[in-house]
């Protein structure tokens, strides 16, 4: 029997506890032994929760308990989550996380620390919620030279852009609708400005190319300036405006990566990815295009990915699974060099010949890259 502890009893943590309990029998079978939830660490009280008996406040209890072999970190952010992750690894425990901010900012350090202490640090749930993508990229596609990654990695903005198009809402109205449905947080800044998507693209790029891509260095444009007019013009072209993440291996061996709203045409598999769904299209030299699609966030979908990692950690509990994430920093080339078609909207039609990407977004004008495939 293996005991696990969950740090943080929020949306994801409670999902993990719930699914682990509900599907106990098959999870035990998949893991090869019984997996039991021994502690949930949270500073808040949950007197009415069925999990109240295992909820504790003091992480050091987990840290000192040799029964706990796997720690699930669903606290989020880079504060106490970082501290507890380091301490859990130092105590010889495997760590599984859904915390993309922590993985993007400290992934390399934590993977090195895990290597040193012969444990695993798994983070499938940090990209694409429940969609299996990191493990397939790292293991199933390991025979390929990866040449490109393209995806819709932020469910909040995808929901907002879908609502604008289908219900003719302004950005502000669509954001309120997303918040009302639990698809956007009270402070949606990192969703709207593309930072959340950039973090996930950085994690994917790190795994695909073994070079450290810093989220802050990824060329980034959010959806803050997208107007209903832009969404409607894109629809007139037969396309859908979506916040697309792209990273490419260039012919010279360099990398480029960016996050920006693009007009996605029906020829692209990303065209059908609406609402809060996510998708990642990976191109390999042998496999061609492979796409992974599903629910990119939420309690139980994210719990599904966390539990896949927990099962893997239990199965490999005496053995590390090597993840090649080198500390070599990637130097990113300017994505404007990629070329391609652009969609330009201007009141002043005479000026349409100007350099497209330079057109400022606003009432009178906007321009977006067009994604044909």
């Amino acid at each position: 029997m293996v005991s696990i502890a969950i740090l943080g009893f929020g949306i994801v943590g409670s999902g993990v506890a719930g699914v682990l309990t509900r599907n106990r029998e098959q999870i035990d079978t998949a893991a090869g032994e019984a997996v039991r939830l021994k502690y949930i660490v949270d500073v808040r009280d949950f007197p009415d929760s069925p999990f109240a008996p295992v909820i504790i406040r003091d992480f050091s209890v987990v840290e000192r308990d040799p029964d706990v072999r796997v720690v699930v970190e669903t606290i989020g952010g880079c504060g106490v989550a970082l501290e507890f992750t380091r301490r859990a690894i130092l105590a010889g425990k495997h760590v599984v996380t859904s915390n993309k901010a922590l993985v993007a900012a400290h992934g390399q350090e934590l993977l090195e620390l895990a290597k040193l202490h012969n444990v695993n640090y798994f983070f499938e749930a940090s990209v694409g919620g429940g969609i299996p993508v990191l493990r397939p990229l790292k293991f199933d596609l390991a025979g390929n030279r990866i040449t490109g990654i393209r995806g819709i990695l932020n469910g909040t903005t995808n929901y907002i852009l879908t609502a604008m198009r289908e219900e003719k809402l302004s950005l502000e109205e669509a954001l309120r609708s997303a918040q009302a449905r639990g698809y956007a947080e009270a402070n949606p800044t990192d969703d709207l400005n593309g930072m959340d998507a950039a973090r996930k693209l950085a994690i994917l790029s790190d795994l695909a190319w073994g070079r450290e891509v810093r989220a802050e260095e990824i060329g980034r444009e959010g959806i803050e300036k997208v107007s209903l007019k832009d969404v409607e013009c894109a629809a007139m072209l037969g396309g859908k405006l979506k916040l697309v993440c792209e990273a490419k291996l260039l012919p010279d061996g360099g990398l480029t990566a960016f996050v920006a709203p693009q007009v996605v045409m029906p020829g692209s598999m990303l065209y059908g990815v609406d609402e809060a769904y996510n998708a990642v299209l990976i191109t390999g030299d042998a496999v061609g295009d492979v796409m992974f699609y599903g629910t990119g966030a939420g309690s139980e979908p994210t719990a599904s990915a966390v539990l896949g990692d927990v099962i893997d950690a239990v199965r490999h509990r005496d053995r590390r699974r090597a993840i090649n994430w080198s500390g070599t920093p990637a130097v990113l080339s300017d994505p404007m060099g990629l070329g391609g078609r652009w969609f330009v909207r201007r009141r002043d039609i005479a000026a349409i010949e100007e350099q497209c990407p330079a057109v400022p977004k606003g009432e009178d004008a906007a321009c977006y890259r067009v994604l044909e495939k």
Copy 2:
């Protein structure tokens, strides 16, 4: 260093040899040690092949060579492929295959034999070509109770139906076009009648539910009777006729599975899956819908999946990865009980109230299930 042998130097075998050689460095890194191609076994001569120096005729050389730890079976069929697979396992070698006919017919026996001899029998490439789907289903989604599988698993028929729709071809013309492009074999019977798709659905169902689903028992209708008229009528409805595979866990715990042409509407993620592409949509109680999409056949895409398995076999060469495939036979319920909308085409409009599935396909009439989501 680990040596491998490839059995059969056809489309898939030559793809494996080529990609393994081209991407040697990263495959060695992913596997954790050098992976070298020591033998290719084929009864034919390939004097001009760069691999000629390693091509041999006698399988017993492989069988007796303790250096060979992983055998790749890309012969196909259930004759010599079955014999060599058994002998390789008996000799203590891991076996990786792309042979869906063998896995569907003898998977359980071979998995048991592998367990007995403490080796792995991997077959990712047997379903969906290069698309990672079996390992994600078995490991990443292992925290879920799987409730449904829906997919387009045969690239040949998908190419034919796409060509009929886009180029207004008859079934016969589209088949010739598929054969000319290498998407259909000289004898396309098992593609057209849905048997190839049923084999893949059986493999997916076995893994999802741990019960032995026999391909022969899956309700099956092929595309032999699909006319251009049907394809055009489906398009008038806004849909696309596709050969869809479905398996479902029923509320009573039973299973149902069938393969049949269906009218796929734009609300379904399968709508965008055209040409020779494949896709598998898996529904889990925690994750919701997850889709895996990519090239379902061909030399290098299939090689990508085979090499993912080879890397896994090398990484786990001293340790079995348990795959739960019980010998308990599944009893399949009648899929007609599922309900849903039907598309009916009749010359004789007065008869339209008849039991839909009973409408015989032909010049005067046809009926197909409609797939909304």
